[in-house]
Symmetry: C2
Subunit: 330 residues, 2 copies
């Protein structure tokens, strides 16, 4: 065992971020002077072709021999049991760190922004396809299958999460599972979906009416959109996340609807659909400031039990002076 210290990374998404190699199991070891990817026989060939850092065989004896005394590990991606295993197998001093790579991942570089735009573009096309195909009597599940077939035939490796497609009163449940309700003549429709393209996740929600809305639901949707606009108007480097949430809430409060907003305003997004930071006026990230290159969703929603709900979600990248929305506004 050598002197010094290193960061031990084994979360596959973090490894993809650091090396460009897609695998289910591997280790990246980062020291002051070098970084190296350790993989087993299954991945050696592929890793040598695509890795941006040097690749070595994952041989526990060799790894142990070259390991410094102090090892830092991500306390949020390594289980307590894995920590016990690692300290037992490799010895040394294992020190927890809070999200070292996830924190880096919050700010995207030009290549990542390009990939996110590509993913968002396909999602937008999928939405256009779906809204044209929707018709009375179709079930939520059938609508989901139509969207899935379209995006998977056009470049998505899959959805970034199980889409939420809700008709009528089902829209009142923010975490609804797409079910088998049939579209009626004057329903409210909520579609929350995302796709994965080249490893990057998109995410968008639209709510709209088929036929004539009730006065109350029309107000709910209108207020949701206005709240999102208010939050977006604050988006630029240096602004605290809590201020976005408070801006959205001020609009809702004025309309007498704030009590129906029951989730956070949004979240970071990239290689995973939910990344840091969390946009909220409560919780650990409330004082975090927007930075150029952060990509976040802004998605206020209002849910009136038994009646229906609305959510309006865009994904934006923070630019030097403001933000750019990945979706057309029309």
């Amino acid at each position: 065992m050598m002197k010094g210290k290193a960061l031990w990374v084994e979360n596959p998404v973090d490894i993809f971020y650091l090396t460009g190699v897609q695998l289910s199991s591997g280790i990246v070891l980062v020291t002051k002077s070098s970084s190296r990817l350790f993989v087993d026989g299954r991945y050696t060939e592929a890793a040598k072709k695509t890795s941006s850092i040097s690749v070595a065989n994952r041989d526990p004896v060799m790894i142990k021999k070259n390991l410094p005394k102090t090892l830092y590990f991500d306390q949020n991606t390594i289980s307590y049991g894995r920590y016990l295993d690692l300290s037992k197998s490799y010895g040394g001093k294992w020190m927890p760190v809070d999200s070292p790579i996830a924190n880096l991942r919050m700010v995207k570089d030009a290549g990542e922004i390009k990939a996110m735009k590509k993913s968002s573009k396909l999602l937008w096309e999928g939405f256009q396809f779906l809204t044209k195909k929707l018709k009375r009597g179709m079930t939520e599940w059938e609508a989901m299958l139509l969207l899935e077939a379209y995006v998977k035939a056009n470049g998505a490796s899959g959805f970034s999460f199980d889409p939420i497609i809700a008709f009528g009163p089902n829209t009142a449940m923010p975490h609804y599972h797409t079910g088998h309700a049939k579209l009626k003549a004057s329903d409210i429709v909520l579609v929350d979906a995302g796709v994965v393209v080249d490893g990057y996740c998109s995410d968008m929600t639209r709510t709209f009416f088929v036929g004539t809305p009730s006065t109350k639901l029309a107000l709910v949707l209108q207020t949701t959109i206005a709240a999102q606009k208010a939050a977006l108007s604050h988006c630029k480097p240096g602004v605290k996340l809590k201020d976005l949430d408070l801006a959205a809430r001020a609009v809702m409060k004025k309309a007498g609807l704030e009590e129906y907003f029951v989730h956070s305003l949004g979240h970071g997004i990239g290689l995973e659909v939910h990344e840091g930071p969390r946009l909220s006026s409560k919780g650990v990230d409330k004082h975090v400031k927007l930075l150029e290159g952060m990509i976040v969703t802004v998605e206020p929603g209002l849910y009136v039990p038994g009646l229906g709900g609305a959510r309006w979600e865009d994904t934006i990248v923070i630019t030097s002076k403001g933000y750019q929305n990945f979706y057309p506004q029309k």
Copy 2:
């Protein structure tokens, strides 16, 4: 803080297993005399309807007040950081335990076996549908979309994992990602897929030839099937997992092909597609014995680099005297 001890469970799959409630976040607290599910406002109504144990509001102050001094937690589903949070927020003594609920989940009850059969039946029907639809020029990805549309239109909430559909030399990669190779006149075809029905996962692999196989590949497939038959012939309560693996390996060795078997023989399956135990003659579970009610996959495979490979996988339940295969053998 009260005297005594309790088990703290917060893995959603374990909570579903213990309570029947599907949620993304909750806590089950098990003491000697009682067990209780704590959920937030989002899940209160649904949990009260479906929970098999008593439901309470997830109020940290109330929970803390009623918490015993010693808390056991699953070291494999709780991260090191979460452990730090819990001990800081709630005080007391937090003690790691190795997979307390996952170990229970290894042996399935009658209701679970029924659910697994239902999931397997739909998967089998999907395979029949797909093999009839396969034709020259179709891509692996297109084949996957056909299978997906079928199973999702017939009761699956989704795949239990991204299916592996491989044509020709792509079959030589055991962890291949379904790609865009086109089916040729005399290809070997490998389909490894599973679906989720009522929360339970199925898993099956078949390998077959379109047209006339090469002598070598015919031997590879024939040996794989014979190896699986040999392993299955040992399946009954009391047999060590390593003996199944060794039985399969003996057949491969005799054919001079053992070096091409590069993964474990199988795994437990149920609410998750990969559960314990791991069927192997190496590793931690090698001395584990089969028990009545265990559901496992048996899936030997042989992969000849550059040429092609075969895998043959069934899912079985261990019965009092032997086993029952969930898939027709024809």
